[in-house]
């Protein structure tokens, strides 16, 4: 057990899984970087934010495959190799780029097993960054995990801590289904205790990052950190907040969500994905249909507005949900 950053935890997970299983290959643009450059055989990037650093040096070009900027072929190659025996981990870099490649995930990988009568396995992982906060603009700041979660056949992981990141990534690699692994870019520097040995976290098990009696906050990724801030602040006022991090939104731990709602009767859902038809709306519908009797107040949603992610920091700060908005929502449900 030692303190590691979110980024280090991911790197360690990849490293350990590649050591364990020769079928695990990484592919993506600049996961090594430097191919074909005049500097010769170097690792120029190790992933644009350094998650795959060092892996090429250890495992070589046949298992750490730098690709052209060719998302369709990347995901197609991942899907085709997964269904024929490899366990690829494809790095989409920014999840926003799913748009140019989505057929291979949406129509191919996600459907193989079902469409082929259960005879196919597609053990692939698609990693990518999500989230606003870095001034990356409208095409590099989105959190489209809600879109992946609508597709049956895909599993969608949205970790919020270094510990979860490692355990969930190892689980994703070992999982025999296609997994979309969403890494919030503002979390890479987040540090936490992470065991040195490999471990897995089963999908569909939520974690309560805070336990409480008065209000349930359901949040993902960076929003979990914001929710924790609110919970700790309100605890000082005697308001006891439970923070539920579903960790995977497909499969979704409905039980843990509903049990918390049953317990507190008041719910705030924080979701960076969308102002409409997002993860928050899905969970709200779940609670409304199966936990309505427990509700003491209307469900409160904290989402971005229905706009693209703006660029200017002042606008972006106004766009992304934060602790202040979550706190206001908690107070609102408490007063209702």
């Amino acid at each position: 057990m030692s303190i590691k950053s979110f980024r280090e935890a991911l790197n360690e997970a990849l490293w350990q899984e590649m050591e364990r299983d020769h079928r695990v290959v990484l592919m993506g643009e600049d996961i090594r970087g430097g191919n074909g450059g005049s500097a010769g055989e170097v690792e120029a990037y190790g992933g644009v934010l350094g998650v795959t650093k060092g892996l090429w040096s250890r495992f070589g070009s046949s298992r750490v495959i730098d690709t052209p900027i060719t998302e369709s072929a990347l995901l197609g190659m991942a899907a085709g190799s997964a269904v024929t025996g490899l366990r690829p981990v494809a790095d989409l870099m920014f999840m926003d780029f799913f748009g140019v490649s989505h057929d291979m995930l949406y129509n191919q990988a996600a459907k193989f097993r079902y469409m082929f009568g259960g005879k196919a396995r597609t053990p692939m992982v698609v990693r990518g960054m999500i989230g606003a906060g870095y001034g990356a603009g409208a095409q590099h700041s989105q959190s489209p995990y809600n879109i992946f979660a609508t597709t049956p056949g895909l599993k969608v992981v949205v970790p919020s801590s270094p510990y979860d990141a490692k355990g969930l990534l190892i689980q994703a690699i070992r999982d025999d289904d296609p997994v979309v692994f969403c890494e919030h870019k503002t979390l890479y520097k987040l540090e936490g205790e992470v065991p040195d040995e490999p471990y897995t976290i089963p999908f569909g098990t939520a974690r309560y990052t805070r336990e409480g009696d008065d209000v349930t906050i359901i949040a993902l990724a960076a929003m979990v950190q914001q929710a924790n801030i609110v919970a700790d602040k309100l605890a000082a006022e005697g308001i006891s907040v439970e923070v539920v991090d579903p960790r995977t939104i497909s499969p979704l731990d409905e039980q843990s969500i509903l049990e918390s709602v049953e317990w507190t009767g008041r719910v705030v859902i924080v979701d960076e994905s969308a102002a409409r038809v997002g993860f928050a709306h899905d969970v709200a519908a779940l609670i409304a249909s199966r936990g309505f009797h427990a509700l003491k107040a209307p469900i409160e949603l904290v989402t971005p507005p229905h706009t693209p992610v703006p660029f200017a920091p002042s606008l972006e700060q106004a766009w992304v949900p934060n602790a202040a908005r979550i706190e206001a929502a908690v107070r609102k449900v408490l007063e209702a």
Binding site: R23, V25, S62, R63, I65, T67, P68, T70, S72, A73, L74, L75, G76, M77, A78, A79, G80, S81, A82, V83, T84, G85, L86, P88, S101, D103, M104, N107, Q108, F112, R113, Y114, M115, F116, G117, G118, K119, A120, R121, P152, G153, K155, D175, D176, D177, F203, G204, P251
Partner: protein
């Protein structure tokens, strides 16, 4: 050039495809078959000419017009027919249908209803073969319509970049749905365009089994010897419409009749093997194939549809 035994085997495959498709053309009118049917008649020599070089460790990715590829790659006729009928005994247990017949044990990665879907997947299969050193190769079938898709270009580029053992077969059957090849393929030259990605590309007569067979022989040899990917464009007009029920208003009167008379791949094949294979052997194959197709239809019709609870199974390996 295959030996006598190989020729008879190739003929049997082509005959199976022909009988299978023509029988579906008839059976489809009973209304028992759900969904769309895209028939392969007229292109038999391409599928068989390519797949005669492949074994079960090799993979093919197919198109929505995939029955011929399936049969050529060795898929079970009964399983295919039942799948097309949407029965639980189908190769995909009734969950795939005509456009998604797959048999991974035979190296058949699935018919693919997304036009241009197969090449990237074949690249992936080739990566597996290369990384796991199976000695296998991967083949993608794409139509002239699919040849224009961006992801097909991406796949060819990737295959060249990574030097993967993959062969991209473009079946130019003259039409993408109802739009002619001469209109939609801007350069009017699929092979020539492909060559620009930096890989060998040849154009052959797709109604000529021996032409296809020969081109594939070269391409497979390259792939297996780690010399990288190749492209084959094979031209063979389809006899039926884009889908069953297509009125084919885009085709000139007499075009199909002319094809049947002068460009029948089976007839052309038989002409080439006259004297090499005894007629009674041919007749025996014809009889046996007709029987096999009869049986496949009868079995498919008699089979049970999948139970309703099967709708929920096979989404995930584990969830």
């Amino acid at each position: 050039m295959p030996d006598k035994h190989g020729l008879l085997k190739a003929y049997r495959k082509m005959r199976e495809i022909r009988e299978f498709e023509e029988r579906l053309h008839v059976e489809n009118t009973t209304g028992e078959i759900p969904g769309f049917l895209h028939l392969y008649t007229g292109q038999e020599a391409i599928a068989v000419g390519v797949c005669e070089h492949l074994t079960d460790r090799d993979y093919i990715g197919s198109t929505h017009r995939g029955h011929g590829h399936c049969i050529a790659k060795g898929c079970d006729l009964n399983g295919m027919m039942a799948e097309i009928y949407g029965k639980e005994t189908g190769l995909c247990r009734g969950k795939g249908g005509s456009m998604h017949i797959a048999d991974l044990e035979r190296g058949m990665l699935g018919a693919n209803a997304i036009v241009g879907g197969a090449p990237p997947l074949a690249v992936g299969a080739a990566l597996s073969a290369k990384t796991l050193e199976t000695g296998g190769v991967a083949v993608s079938f794409t139509g002239d319509g699919g040849s224009n898709q961006g992801l097909v270009f991406e796949a060819m580029n990737m295959a060249v970049v990574l030097q993967l053992p993959v062969i991209f077969v473009f079946e130019n059957n003259g039409y993408g749905e109802g739009t002619g090849h001469d209109y939609a393929v801007g350069s009017r030259d699929i092979a020539g365009r492909a060559a620009g990605f930096g890989l060998p590309a040849v154009k052959v007569d797709g109604t000529d089994f021996f032409a296809v067979y020969g081109a594939m022989e070269t391409a497979v040899a390259r792939a297996r010897s780690r010399q990288g990917p190749s492209v084959i464009e094979a031209v063979a007009m389809r006899w039926h419409g884009h889908y069953e029920g297509d009125a084919m208003l885009y085709r000139a009167v007499g075009e199909v009749a002319e094809l049947r008379a002068n460009h029948d791949p089976l007839a052309l094949f038989l002409k080439r093997v006259e004297g090499v294979i005894p007629q009674e052997d041919i007749d025996a194959v014809d009889r046996e194939v007709a029987q096999a197709i009869d049986e496949a239809v009868a079995r498919a019709r008699a089979a049970n549809p999948p139970a309703a609870d099967q709708v929920f199974t096979d989404v995930y390996v584990d969830y």
